[in-house]
Structure formats: structure tokens, C-alpha cells
């Protein structure tokens, strides 16, 4: 991709997932990560209390669902796993985090005119995934093989699903509503920070090493020559 202006969908900085190192120190989703000896919790003692509380709450999120019903949860779990490529433990509990957010009525402050509010959009999407799976001769979306479910999600991402619940939605926009919630949940979780090497919360401690232009301020000028005094003075 050198010199490329735009990536294609297949272009991936580390395209062979098999080459991703195994985490050694911190927990990461599926124990994959570029920073095997990093654990964001190593600096937890430098975080303020309020931040520690919200970050820790994600590790300890309740596994009992309140917003999604049983059937919805089965479909939603497959969708969350595929969008975040989670195929093994340890998993970031994406569905549980979204369920908690919706149960508490925490919405994002807008909905598109051609979609209902986000919670209802989710319910219709999950119904739509089951209906599409039935059209493809399965009992439900969650009963499909991973490959078959992946194909439906590809169609969802392309906005090309139709009929049934999908006919009441702008499907391409519904995809953005779902991925917005899924990605916000996944990358709010400290295990994801371990995977990508994100330094994490920083207060009261800030950062010390930020890099920077050079040693010269704009009003200082370059030197004319730079003879080594050891040589110049001689011995």
C-alpha cells in the first residue's frame, strides 16, 4: 500500500491474523495484541477514583440482560462477535455493555428521520437478521454457521437486506447505528486498550514523553557550522 491514497477494504496493516502476538501480561480479547507485555492496569494507582470506577465497572458488567429478550440476545451476540471478530474467550462483553446502556436509557442524542430511535432500530435489526436466516432455511440467525452468519452481516453492511423488518428501516443507516454502539462498547473496554497499546486514563498523572519538532524554537536559528571542540582545541 506504500504511497496509496486510500485503502481498500482488504488492506490491513497486519493482514495475517496468525501473526498477531499472544498477550503475556495484560488480558486482551482472544489474547491477541501488538503489545504483549503491556497492561493498562499497571498504572491504575495513578488514576483518579471516578475514572477507576467507570473502567472497573466494565470488567464487572452484569451478565444478566435487562433490555434484550432471550431471542434478541442470541442474534445480537452473534452480530457483536462478527463485527468485532471475537471468536474465542476471553471476550469483551460487548452485548452486556450495550444492554446496560439501553436499559439505563442512555441514547446518543439523535436519530435519523428514516429510522426509529436506536433501541427500536436494534430490535428491528435483530428481528430482520432472524427473518433473513429463516429465508436461508435456518431456524434463526444464531443457528447459522459462522460463515453463513458472516454472509448475512456482509449483506447488512452493504445495506442490501430487504423485506420483513428490513422494509421499515434504512438498512445502511441501521448498520451505522449498530456498529456505532458495538464499537463504542468494545473500545471502551480496557482489554481492547491492552490489545492496541493505548496508554489509557491519565489523571492526575499526565504524559511526559510527547516527542516534538526539534530542540529549536521558531525564533532560534540554525548554527553556521559545528566543529567538534575536542578536535579543534586539540590536546
Amino acid at each position: 500500500m506504500k504511497g496509496g491514497r486510500h485503502s481498500t477494504r482488504d488492506a490491513r496493516p497486519d493482514s495475517d491474523a496468525g501473526e498477531v502476538p499472544q498477550a503475556r501480561r495484560g488480558t486482551t480479547p482472544q489474547m491477541k495484541g501488538r503489545y504483549p507485555d503491556f497492561d493498562v492496569f499497571d498504572t491504575e494507582d495513578t488514576w483518579d477514583e471516578a475514572t477507576t470506577k467507570v473502567v472497573r465497572a466494565r470488567i464487572n458488567v452484569s451478565h444478566a440482560l435487562s433490555f434484550f429478550d432471550e431471542r434478541e440476545a442470541l442474534a445480537a451476540r452473534v452480530l457483536c462477535d462478527l463485527v468485532t471478530d471475537q471468536d474465542a474467550e476471553p471476550r469483551i462483553p460487548v452485548l452486556e455493555l450495550i444492554d446496560e446502556k439501553f436499559h439505563k436509557g442512555k441514547l446518543d442524542g439523535f436519530h435519523f428521520e428514516d429510522l426509529p430511535e436506536d433501541r427500536e432500530t436494534w430490535r428491528r435489526v435483530l428481528r430482520g437478521l432472524d427473518e433473513t436466516a429463516e429465508q436461508r432455511h435456518a431456524m434463526s440467525f444464531s443457528a447459522l454457521s459462522r460463515e453463513e452468519a458472516q454472509r448475512i452481516v456482509e449483506d447488512f453492511a452493504e445495506g442490501s437486506l430487504s423485506g420483513g423488518a428490513w422494509s421499515s428501516l434504512n438498512v445502511a443507516r441501521a448498520w451505522s447505528v449498530c456498529t456505532r454502539a458495538i464499537l463504542a462498547a468494545f473500545y471502551s473496554h480496557p482489554w481492547a486498550w491492552n490489545e492496541i497499546g493505548f496508554g489509557g486514563p491519565a489523571y492526575p498523572r499526565g504524559y511526559m514523553r510527547m516527542g516534538g519538532l526539534s530542540t529549536r524554537d521558531p525564533f532560534e536559528t540554525t548554527e553556521d557550522s559545528s566543529p567538534d571542540p575536542v578536535r579543534e582545541v586539540g590536546s
Binding site: M1, K2, G4, R5, H6, S7, R9, R12, P13, D14, A17, V20, K32, R34, D48, A50, T51, V54, V55, L82, V83, T84, D85, K106, L107, G109, F110, H111, F112, E113, Q150, V153, A157, S176, T179, R180, L183, A184, F186, Y187, S188, A192, E195, I196, G197, F198, G199, G200, P201, A202, Y203, P204, R205, G206, Y207, M210, G211, G212, L213, P218
Partner: protein
């Protein structure tokens, strides 16, 4: 030009920086705050405790006015309420229901809408550029947009005063009306350095700042610690927002900030046509009326028009001040395309404040580009959730997305602010849906014009050029939008505006709009400083008028 040095004077007539506690972040004075009785008529009631409302209240309280601010959101206690965490900042945004529509709908919430004492400056990045003189005359100079009924020079002294109050740090500014800043530029990060070098290689000048972030000694406000969490609320008190710059002084001068108070209606006396006060709901949904001699709305470009439109009476059957169908029109955003470049070494863009270096070299019209007006260029540094949104906007998900995300530390990001032209059809209306107080919610319809599209396309190429010159191996560019403005614009006649040059609603002699919704154009500058400067000017006018 008055030169203000580090050793020079702090702001006049504002003690906020001394009233703050060095070790605790609570707004000082909350416990002892003046509280007016329900049936008191005050001199001024302000709707909204953000950039516009807070400055207006602080200024007039200094003149002895008795002021109440009604704020829909909470009274923050930052030590407990604010966190170094992206998802945890959710409470800072206006997350009540709103509808977005049009060919190019604008996402609201965390993107541009604040809630709570201090308003959206609590979570703005911190850029505080001035508008250019040309922004006030785009119709005369470029044949597009609208002329303001006032000029840059009417605002200049207020820009200078607000810059001292924030205080703004940055290099000597060569663009627009060239000026200096009261505080020196901040050091910059690896990410900004790369982008700076790339720009320089393409003949583009970038300057450090301007940001409302303390760099040095400023009363009890600590120096920035470069932790990078400006968008989640500054837990350090280094970044400026009304919460630290104007409300401490306002409370010390007997302003009452009544939080969790949702304005429902501007009440109009049907005989005299004057505003008598604001009807609002408290957090238990009990209804109250705050009476006042003067009413000012500072709810910003969505809530200000919504409140006017929802205030229906026999005199104003289509909403207060809307007999000419102008309320809610000409709401603008800025194009905010964002381009990320991949570098072979680790960049770790999350360190330091996201606003670092910027350029206004492309701000003015250049006919050779084929469109009117222009754009500015600014560094931005998304954190993981923001970066995931960037990658997802390119169409990635699943394994590809995880893979891009693992590469996070190798990317640096730069963005534009494109001036998008005012359009009467880009507007806020009220919908049939209602919020939990039973009030009709706002619907914001937005579509790009041809000039807007040409501007955005041109600017994306400039971003790519900068990244490639900086040595980026790969570039990912996405389209997005930032910053609301307009919706109750000022003008010279009621037929094409909502307020006059003193921000008074044409049809009501004691009703003012004190926020960004009065701006007829927006330039390519972040609006916070201009909103504060406008309120500072409005306060001066009201004080003179009362004297």
C-alpha cells in the same frame, strides 16, 4: 496593536481564576450561591449556562443586575462526575431525543451538543480562533452567504478581553486581523510535529494554537499536564470553559445557576408584547415561572430555535419572533473531514491536547480553486472509540477493523473546518415527537450545496498532500461535520433575520438571543471565542441601555 506579554495584565473585571481552588475542581460558591424565591422578578433570566449565557450573566452581575440562569443539565462536580474515559463522558452531551434529516444529516450528541453547567465548552477541544474580518462581509466581498449588521472591529475589543480571560495560548497570528496572544504557544507532540513538517514541505504555514489552555501561571488554574483528555472535560482546570472562566465570578456576584431546569416557553404578555419570563420544569417535572425584566436565550443553534418555536401564543401563533418564518433557518455546521496517515514509527497521537497546530492559509476566497470562501486545517487526535469510528467510516469491520485498530499508535490525524454557506432550508423545526417533559423535539434538516461540496473535496486533497509529504505510507480520509451555528440570525430587517444588531428579537422589546445562533456566517473558525465575544458585546450594550 496592544502587546500583552506573559508578565502583563490578566483580564479586567473577572476574578474567576483567583476564586477557583487549586486542589478541588468544584465551582466555588455553589453552597453559598444566592437563591431567588419562586415569585421574585429578577433583572435578567438566561436560558443556558454555556459560552454565551455565562459570559452575559457574569458581565451584567458585575453591573449589579440580579440574574438567574436556567440550565437544563446538571451542576457538575468534576472530581466525581468527569472521567479520563471516552464512553464515560456520555453525560456531558445533550442526549435528549432529536431528529436529523436532509440529504446530509448531521449527527448531534457528542459531536457538537453540550448539556450541563459550562455548556459544550466543557467538552470542546479547546481551539479558540477569532473570525476573520471578511466573515462579517461575505455577501459584499464574495457574493455568497450574508453580511452581518456589525463588523469585526465591533467585536475586536471583546475578542481581546475574552482571550485574556480564557487565557488563549498561541503563536503570533498572521491570518485575518493579525494579532498576538496573551500566553505563549504550548509545546507540541510527535503527531503534530509530523503534520507540521508535512505542511511545511507543501508550502503551508502552520502555527501553534490558538487554544484556551493555560500555559504558565494564571491565578489558581493549573498548567496543562498534556494528558490529552480535553474532549471529556478537563479534570485539571487548565482548559477554558465558562465553568472556570466566568461562572466563578458570576456566582461571586450573586448569579444563581439553577441546574436541571428545562425551559419550556418564553412567556409573552399578550397586551404589551413584552416577555415576562420563562416557564420551565425542574428535575421533578414541576412547572415554574421565572419572571424577569429582560430575557436572554442561550441554548445554542438547536435548542434556542426550538424554545422560540415551542413558545406559541395568540401574538405569536408560529412561535415567538417567528411571524416572518425566520426562526430556525440558516443553521450551519462546518465540514470537518478527517484524514489519518500511517507512519512507520509509533506516533501515539493520544498524548497532549488534540488541538495543537492549525493553519488559516486557505481561509479566504481564492477564485482559482473554483469555489467561494475556504477552510482551515487543524490537528485532531481521536482516542480509541473515535479512531474506531474513523476506521468503520471507511467500511471496515470484523477482522479488518481489529487489525487497523491494533495499528492505532502508528497514525496521525489532521482535519479541516470548511466554511459551509448558509441556506434557508437548512433549518430547525419542531417535530410531532415529544420529549419526556411533553415538549415537541427539534428536527434538524441539512443538505450540502454545490459550493460546500467543492470546498470539501478540495480541502481533502490538501490534507492528503500534507500527510504524504509528512511521509505517511497510507492515508484514510473520512467525511464528517462539526460545530453548530446560526438558527436565529442577526440582520438589518425582520424579513430576513430573527434578531437585530444588538441580538434583540425583532418583535419583542426585552427578549435577546445570546449564543452562536445569532451568527449569519461562521467562517472556518471554531465558534467558542466568537460566541463569548458576542455575549460580552451584548452585555456592554445592555448595561449602557440600562444606565
Amino acid at each position: 496593536m496592544t502587546r500583552i506579554t506573559l508578565k502583563g495584565q490578566g483580564p479586567r473585571d473577572n476574578d474567576s481564576r483567583f476564586l477557583l481552588d487549586v486542589h478541588r475542581r468544584d465551582l466555588p460558591g455553589e453552597a453559598t450561591m444566592r437563591r431567588y424565591e419562586d415569585n421574585d422578578e429578577v433583572d435578567l433570566v438566561v436560558v443556558g449556562a454555556g459560552a454565551g449565557g455565562s459570559v452575559l450573566a457574569q458581565r451584567l452581575a458585575r453591573q449589579g443586575w440580579r440574574v438567574v440562569i436556567l440550565e437544563a443539565g446538571p451542576f457538575w462536580h468534576p472530581d466525581e462526575d468527569w472521567v479520563s474515559d471516552e464512553a464515560g463522558a456520555h453525560e456531558l452531551y445533550w442526549t435528549e431525543n432529536r431528529i436529523i434529516a436532509g440529504d446530509d444529516p448531521i449527527e448531534l450528541g457528542k459531536n457538537n451538543s453540550g448539556r450541563g453547567v459550562g455548556g459544550s465548552m466543557v467538552h470542546y477541544a479547546g481551539y479558540t480562533p477569532r473570525f476573520h474580518p471578511s466573515d462579517f462581509r461575505t455577501q459584499s466581498e464574495d457574493g455568497v452567504g450574508a453580511d452581518w449588521p456589525l463588523s469585526y472591529f465591533d467585536l475586536k475589543s471583546h475578542y481581546e478581553q475574552v482571550e485574556r480571560e480564557l487565557p488563549v495560548a498561541g503563536q503570533n497570528w498572521p491570518w485575518g486581523d493579525p494579532h498576538t496572544y496573551p500566553y505563549s504557544p504550548h509545546p507540541i507532540t510527535e503527531s503534530a510535529s509530523l503534520l507540521w513538517r508535512g505542511a511545511m514541505a507543501r508550502g503551508i504555514t502552520m502555527k501553534v494554537g490558538p487554544v484556551g489552555i493555560v500555559n504558565g501561571v494564571f491565578g489558581n488554574r493549573p498548567h496543562c499536564i498534556y494528558r490529552g483528555w480535553c474532549l471529556q472535560g478537563c479534570k485539571v482546570n487548565a482548559k477554558a470553559s465558562p465553568y472556570v472562566t466566568h461562572l466563578p465570578d458570576a456566582l461571586a456576584h450573586n448569579v444563581e445557576v439553577r441546574a436541571r431546569s428545562m425551559a419550556a416557553e418564553i412567556v409573552i404578555d399578550q397586551d404589551s408584547g413584552r416577555a415576562t419570563g420563562v416557564r420551565y420544569f425542574d428535575q421533578d417535572k414541576r412547572e415554574h415561572l421565572q419572571r424577569a425584566a429582560v430575557v436572554a436565550i442561550a441554548g445554542y443553534s438547536i435548542e434556542t430555535p426550538r424554545l422560540l418555536l415551542n413558545s406559541v401564543s395568540a401574538r405569536f401563533p408560529h412561535g415567538v419572533g417567528n411571524n416572518d418564518d425566520q426562526v430556525g433557518r440558516y443553521v450551519m455546521v462546518q465540514g470537518a473531514s478527517q484524514s489519518a496517515g500511517r507512519f512507520p514509527h509509533e506516533v501515539r497521537m493520544y498524548k497532549g491536547p488534540p488541538p495543537e497546530v492549525s493553519s488559516e492559509q486557505f481561509y479566504e476566497t481564492d477564485e482559482s480553486r473554483g469555489f467561494a470562501r475556504g477552510f482551515s486545517i487543524q490537528t485532531i487526535s481521536p482516542q480509541p472509540i473515535g479512531w474506531a469510528e474513523h476506521v468503520a467510516a471507511e467500511g471496515h469491520w470484523g477482522g479488518a477493523l481489529r487489525s487497523y485498530m491494533r495499528d492505532y499508535n502508528h497514525w496521525a490525524t489532521i482535519g479541516t473546518l470548511n466554511e459551509l454557506l448558509p441556506n434557508a432550508e437548512n433549518r430547525v423545526t419542531v417535530a410531532d415527537e415529544r420529549d419526556h417533559w411533553g415538549l415537541p423535539v427539534a428536527k434538524y434538516t441539512h443538505s450540502l450545496g454545490e459550493n460546500d461540496k467543492a470546498n470539501i473535496e478540495f480541502s481533502k486533497k490538501v490534507l492528503c498532500d500534507i500527510l504524504e509529504a509528512a511521509g505517511a505510507e497510507e492515508v484514510l480520509t473520512i467525511a464528517r461535520y462539526a460545530h453548530l451555528i446560526g438558527g436565529a440570525r442577526m440582520g438589518i430587517s425582520p424579513g430576513n433575520s430573527v434578531v437585530d444588531l444588538h441580538q434583540r428579537v425583532w418583535a419583542v422589546e426585552n427578549l435577546y438571543v445570546a449564543d452562536g445562533s445569532v451568527a449569519p456566517t461562521q467562517g472556518s473558525a471554531n465558534p467558542a471565542l466568537t460566541i463569548m465575544a458576542l455575549s460580552s458585546r451584548l452585555a456592554e450594550h445592555l448595561a449602557k441601555k440600562a444606565a
